[in-house]
Point group: C2
Chain length 474, copies 2
């Protein structure tokens, strides 16, 4: 019984050309990470759910992929639940318990009975978990890069996938702003090499915090951040509405809009100082931004680096600098990278006092931009085979196999057509479809003469060569 196969929504296969192009991106990003002293780390796809939950906000928790426990946990749970005596009322005595919590119809409480593991949602939390677990074996400051897929059950749309790759570089164990500057310089170098024009935006969570204090709404810090984060989508009127809804008054809203309007200023540092410098976090935020910009001028960046006070970032763990990279060409203007400083992330895992800062490249979105702008080198091909050996019968197949082995022994990618039953035309069709540059057809004449016809399939030119010349020419 044949199945009609399909892929889970939001996931994709990568055919050979796509893989080659993705590797091209990964290689460039990795090369720059290494040049700045970052070391590779890889963590498992599955993490304990307890490691993941509560780190990404409520929305993030919702988007975690959860894995059903091995064994009969599920069956046990629903068996107990089927023993309840009425539709509405559940007899708690029948229900199993974990850590003192009793299973019930609330999916959150029942969850541990059926799932203890989840797929990683980003690379930062697994990294913080790694640092906490390996505190005695790592040298601080610890600079690591990590390039792996992550999974989010978000609604798929253009540029948003359920399985996608992040390429992260983080430093932990140092609060020096030199790290912020070097990480931004890494963005600058990678996108310059990829030839994607970008704007690199930087802001500081301390300024947003000072803003909340400034208007006497420190308790509304998260609401304010969330509202500002939507500015691009809903405009300043929309932001104002959101703020009013969360209980701010007109005066408070007006201050926030004044703050946001500073995005139009080329260098808003002076105005920020005037507005928020009297608050400790405001003063610190300004000093930090200034210092980072100063380091960056020494490092000489190629792309525009812009202080953008409207940058808020969704993730809740950021405490200092926040950054975002926006592609600045073509139709696709959305974020292709982001990051920031987090002061307390390893603290959640029992290792307090370790500040960290990191950036992330969104591989799949960068891929889409590269494709939109036709920036992938034309030299990237699905295969790397240089020559196909063709033949007529068992005897010529034997010679073709010998020659193919000889070419490969010299490190050159080569193929011999596998099927002896297929005519030469069919064999050459294979070479053409795969854009293989050379073909060498071994007939009975060649067996005796030991000279072989080497045909360049692109130019059509054919030459007679010896075994030694064969390898030299290709």
């Amino acid at each position: 019984m044949a199945q009609k196969p399909s892929l889970p929504q939001g996931t994709r296969d990568f055919n050979p050309l796509m893989v080659q192009r993705r590797k091209y991106l990964l290689n460039i990003i990795e090369k720059v990470f290494k040049k700045y002293g970052f070391m590779p780390l890889e963590t498992p796809a599955m993490e304990q759910l307890s490691t993941l939950t509560g780190k990404y906000g409520d929305e993030g928790d919702q988007l975690l992929y959860k894995i059903i426990n091995s064994g009969d946990y599920f069956k046990k749970l629903i068996e107990f639940q089927s023993k309840t005596s009425s539709h509405e009322e559940i007899d708690q005595t029948y229900l199993p318990s974990v850590d003192g919590k009793v299973a019930n119809l609330d999916a959150k409480i029942s969850l541990p009975f059926i799932a203890e593991k989840g797929l990683r949602y980003d690379l930062t939390v697994p990294f913080a978990r790694f640092v906490a677990m390996n505190r005695n074996d790592i040298t601080l400051p610890f600079k690591r890069y990590q390039m792996q897929p992550v999974w989010r059950s978000d609604r798929p749309q253009k540029g948003r996938y359920r399985e996608f790759w992040q390429c992260d570089a983080d430093v932990v164990g140092t609060d020096s702003l030199l790290n912020e500057a070097e990480l931004l310089k890494i963005y600058d170098e990678v996108f310059a090499e990829l030839q994607i024009p970008v704007i690199i935006k930087i802001n500081n969570r301390k300024l947003l915090n000072a803003l909340a204090q400034h208007i006497g709404a420190q308790d509304k810090f998260i609401d304010i951040t969330v509202a500002i984060d939507k500015l691009d989508k809903i405009g300043s009127d929309g932001v104002k509405n959101e703020l009013l809804k969360s209980g701010l008054n007109e005066t408070q809203c007006a201050s926030i809009l004044t703050f946001l309007a500073l995005v139009e200023t080329n260098n808003p540092l002076q105005q920020l100082e005037e507005m928020l410098g009297h608050i400790e976090d405001g003063n610190l935020g300004c000093i930090e931004l200034k210092k980072v910009m100063q380091f960056l001028s020494t490092l000489q960046t190629k792309n525009e680096i812009k202080i953008d006070v409207t940058l808020a970032r969704g993730l809740s763990y950021y405490t200092g600098a926040i950054v975002e990279v926006q592609a600045n060409a073509g139709t696709f203007k959305s974020s292709i990278g982001g990051g920031g400083r987090y002061d307390n992330l390893t603290g959640i895992f029992g290792l307090p006092g370790i500040s960290g800062v990191g950036i992330s490249f969104g591989l799949d979105r960068i891929y889409d931009v590269m494709e939109d702008l036709a920036l992938f080198p034309a030299s990237l091909k699905a295969n790397e085979t240089k020559i196909l050996f063709c033949y007529f019968d068992e005897e010529t197949q034997q010679r073709a196999l010998e020659l193919c082995a000889e070419v490969r022994a010299n490190g050159i990618a080569a193929e011999i057509y596998p099927d002896i039953t297929k005519k030469i035309g069919k064999q050459l069709e294979y070479a053409n479809k795969l854009s293989i540059e050379y073909a060498c057809i071994i007939g009975s004449n060649e067996l005796a003469s030991e000279k072989y016809p080497l045909k360049n399939l692109l130019s059509g030119v054919q030459t007679e060569v010896t075994k030694t010349e064969l390898t030299q020419i290709i």
Copy 2:
């Protein structure tokens, strides 16, 4: 509230040195795959459960990791189930249905309500699914390689992990035995380059099939295969017991043991022909083995390639050649690779008549063997940083940063110590712990002289160099 973080059982982090070593293995395997004309493919971690189930036997189905559906499927299911009126009896009218199947306490039947997706169990089935879905876009024969993790909820033990990497090369759309020979040659080349001594074993499922026919027990083919597969663990007496248990008689068992004893013969082809040549599959199996060995003698292998009649392989989809690679040194003798020919795998997905053959490298086991035998090159290091720049204050930091940028601009991996508050001793300690070869300490004297002290931390030798010389020396 601090959590004590942990990893799911059977999964591991890979620290920088481990990642570098794994990349060393991956690069060699990939290089050889490419040399033989294979093209890269990547498929998503998650597949539809319908794609995965029923392909790996009952045991395999048990070991699949299943992912809970997004939304409230789980809650819906248990809500319905809680509406049942007695402990034993479930009112079917309350239960939801999918594809005409009604949910109940049987975990198998309830499964689609809570999980439609699973993590891939190997790379062969996703590949077959890809071929069936992309039949119009690929050129046959299609040679692809794929190097990705797979997940199995097997009991963890030495050499067995729940997340592990496979490196596969498969050809589909050709039944030429040249493919078998080339794939075995790939094993030979990779393990020769890694310097792992191996025995490459080859057998043919057709011979096992002929054996079952020969003793009049064709209906017991799977039982016979499963029993033979355990020979290593339970010995020939154990195999006999298993066979008796599955209903074979003493005479049938004796024939099977005679067959298995051929493993002691250096070249068992003649005896196999005598024993099974009168059966079509037996004859074919012998012809195929002979032809593969003949191609291999042309290709000149470095490792022992052995016809092993006791090789059975666990997976149910193999129909022709089966192969396995065993490390032949150290304490760790178990399988580090395996594969075979499958005639009907894409047929399950609606694309019949496409024969395929493939091999798989077990990356994690190869890693363990390499470590056991101390075969990893000593040159592999956690980091690739060549030089660390140290400094005393803001002014010298500024110069250090300029020099560091200069070195990096020449493509050399370099670091500047991030924390201005740390003394030089602490900065150099960092370089030593990371085995960074050079350090350059910028003091106030260097600012004026523009000559910099370059210290080789391995030899202790220090020289004075200009900016230009700095890059040249490292």
